[in-house]
Amino acid sequence: MASLDLARQPDKGARPLSLAGHVGFDSLPDQLVNKSIYQGFCFNILCIGETGIGKSTLMDTLFNTNFENFESSHFEPQVKLRAQTYDLQESNVRLRLTVVNTVGFGDQMNKQESYQPVVDYIDRQFESYLQEELKIKRSLHNYHDSRVHACLYFISPSGHSLKSLDLVTMKKLDSKVNIIPVIAKADTISKSELHKFKIKIMSELVSNGVQIYQFPLDDETVAKVNTTMNGHLPFAVVGSTEEVSVGNKLVKARQYPWGVVQVENENHCDFVKLREMLICVNMEDLREQTHTRHYELYRRCKLEEMGFKDTDPECKPVSLQQTYEAKRQEFLLELQKREDEMRQMFVQRVKEKETELKEAERELQGRFEQLKRLHAEEKTALEEKKRLLDEDQSSFNKRRAAAQLLQAQSLTANGKKDKDRKK
């Protein structure tokens, strides 16, 4: 035990005391360890990468089992996430492992929204943890923590640089999850190309401000190993569940006509480094980082969104409860106000409608009157005309009768004249 413990500053009020003998509280870490072994551990990995890049195979290789994943199609219309939970055991340690894979990532023609389902998934896990935390009756120690502890981002081995989709996605995720980039299918890159490729990737990440996960350097026992490993990022991995006999042993490898790529050979790829860093050395640190950094950031943002603050406008500390009460009152008042407003508006609208309808009615009435008048006028006009016509007719009849009479008279007169002449 070093005299200077950087993790804990000596309290101003407490004076350091030296012990006269062995008390026994140095077994506290052991008690903690026993407790946690009893409870079991929980770890969640998110694998992001194009379809067919080798995510499932790498998981199978890492955990030395067969997670029974099937090939996805390239023609998914949207990115989806598929989560599967497994219970693993090694010696007396139980691990509840959740592996989340992206389905259809990088296949669409328009990939502008591809990162969204991933971000939504991560936020959902944070949200459910936050809800559990804010519950009145909560059971955090029994809660199955589904927050994503590590994100393996699979980079396609083009040999040139990152793809534009990679950059955009990692930028969106670096403040929400621990990103560990890996170069997938690394048996297609020769050693010299790999060196240049890694440098290019890291420089692109740095120049775009993407914060990937750095292995922690504050614990002396692992600082040295972690520093070396940080220099090897991103890890170039090859995955395989098939075994090939090399020498007189069966090893996990891929057999080519020109040679055999051994997965666990450090000369061939960085698989062993990844396994060590991810599982053997830093698993607990990943969980801690997720809880203390990423989750806290999420929680702070979410609560600030809801309007909670740590200090009053007068800079006096305000407890969550007071803020909550204040918020509630505010909310109820607002609700009341809105209800009143709506009622007023409703009444006003009804009145408006009534006046409108009355207007319309009056107009219609007016028009009806007018039409009636017109109609009566026309009727009288027509009757006038009819009377005139009748008069005309009667006068005509009279004239006709008179004319006929004249004609008859003239005929008889002519007849008399003829008779007279003949005589």
Partner: protein
């Protein structure tokens, strides 16, 4: 006596042969001589996402370095990158035969985050070359026509997926009727032999499933020998060609070969057991280059030309409708049509189009008359 008789018989035989001998058996030699004098040209297009080894393969195929001062973009620059079309032309010579090789590259294809319709500029480029050739061919001075038409397009499929991707399908479907597409399975040193076989079968199935018409090797005649037929069958079964390219020479088993050096072994580019590079090179350069040019000329270009003429006649008919029908002969095409077109197929098309034109004209006249009478009645 017999000898003399035999001699005279022989003499008469050779004389007869001389009489029967015409001499056109030397035509192939004449063609050979003329073509060597004229020189050849070939335009090859390479398309595919960046990082699949296109430039390396082109360099390996023609054993030159075409991409000396190339500048690759960073990932952030590529987020909104558009597709460019670049051309590199080189003159290479082998045993007196000159070849003018043009490589058309498509940097930026499939690199942006949003790749909708990224194949459009490629299709437009091919159409432009066809259009330019069409104009040249229909022009008055046809002595020095430059043939810039794309004869073959090598499309690079990524080996890291499970087969074809939506981008691949869309690209090939947009271009399969404009250019000969030869699909290539890139960076094949990431696949074990069994994986290669599975992927080839899957890709061939998907090509058929989506109705993509890739370049078909001409069937060999039934009277060719078995060896040739076997080779031909093997060639057809190798689509897509699983290739590996390399710009560096390494030492393997005492020999200096083009290859890639890995800690676990050396991949030899020209070893048929390692990849299909040799098959591709033979097919492209040694056996099928002329056939690729012929198919481009006879099928793709003629399709384009027929479509072009059809759309032109439709435009002309529209013009005439607007100008109230003048029964002129078909001499007001925007481009003068060359009389005596060689292909009977296009002649038939033109005749059909003429008929259609006449029918439409008559119908228009009828409608016009109807309208006139209706106007009068008002």
């Amino acid at each position: 006596m017999d000898n003399i008789a035999a001699n005279s018989e022989m003499n008469s035989d050779t004389e007869d042969q001389d009489k029967e001998y015409v001499g056109f058996a030397t035509l192939p030699n004449q063609v050979h001589r003329k073509s060597v004098k004229k020189g050849f040209d070939f335009t090859l297009m390479v398309a595919g996402e960046s990082g699949l080894g296109k430039s390396t393969l082109v360099n390996s195929l023609f054993l030159t370095d075409l991409y000396k001062d190339r500048k690759l973009l960073n990932a952030e620059e590529r987020i909104t990158q558009t597709v460019e079309i670049t051309k590199h032309t080189v003159d290479i010579e082998e045993k007196g035969v000159k070849l003018k090789l043009t490589i058309v590259d498509t940097p930026g294809f499939g690199d942006a985050v949003n790749n909708t319709e990224c194949w459009k500029s490629v299709a437009d480029y091919i159409d432009q070359q066809f259009e330019q050739y069409f104009r040249d061919e229909s022009g008055l001075n046809r002595k020095n026509i430059q043939d810039n038409r794309v004869h073959c397009c090598l499309y690079f499929i990524s080996p890291f997926g499970h087969g074809l991707r939506p981008l691949d399908v869309e690209f090939m479907k947009a271009l399969h009727e404009k250019v000969n597409i030869v699909p290539i399975l890139a960076k094949a040193d990431t696949l074990t032999p069994s994986e290669v076989k599975k992927k080839k079968i899957k890709i061939r199935e998907e090509i058929e499933q989506y109705g993509i018409k890739i370049y078909q090797f001409p069937d060999c005649d039934s009277d060719e020998d078995e060896d040739f037929k076997q080779q031909d069958l093997e060639l057809k079964e190798s689509i897509p060609f699983a290739v590996i390219g390399s710009n560096t020479v390494v030492e393997a088993k005492g020999k200096r070969v083009r290859g890639r050096l890995y800690p676990w072994g050396i991949v030899e580019v020209e070893n048929p057991a390692h990849c299909d590079f040799v098959k591709l090179r033979n097919m492209l350069v040694r056996t099928h280059m002329q056939d690729l040019k012929d198919v481009t000329r006879e099928t793709h270009y003629e399709n384009y030309r027929a479509q072009c003429i059809q759309s032109m006649t439709r435009m002309v008919v529209k013009e005439r409708k607007r100008n109230k029908l003048t029964r002129e002969s078909g001499t007001d095409f925007p481009i003068p049509v060359v009389p005596g077109v060689a292909d009977s197929e296009t002649e038939k098309l033109i005749r059909e189009k003429d008929e259609e034109l006449r029918r439409m004209q008559e119908m228009l006249q009828r409608i016009q008359d109807q309208m006139d009478t209706q106007k009068d009645s008002y």
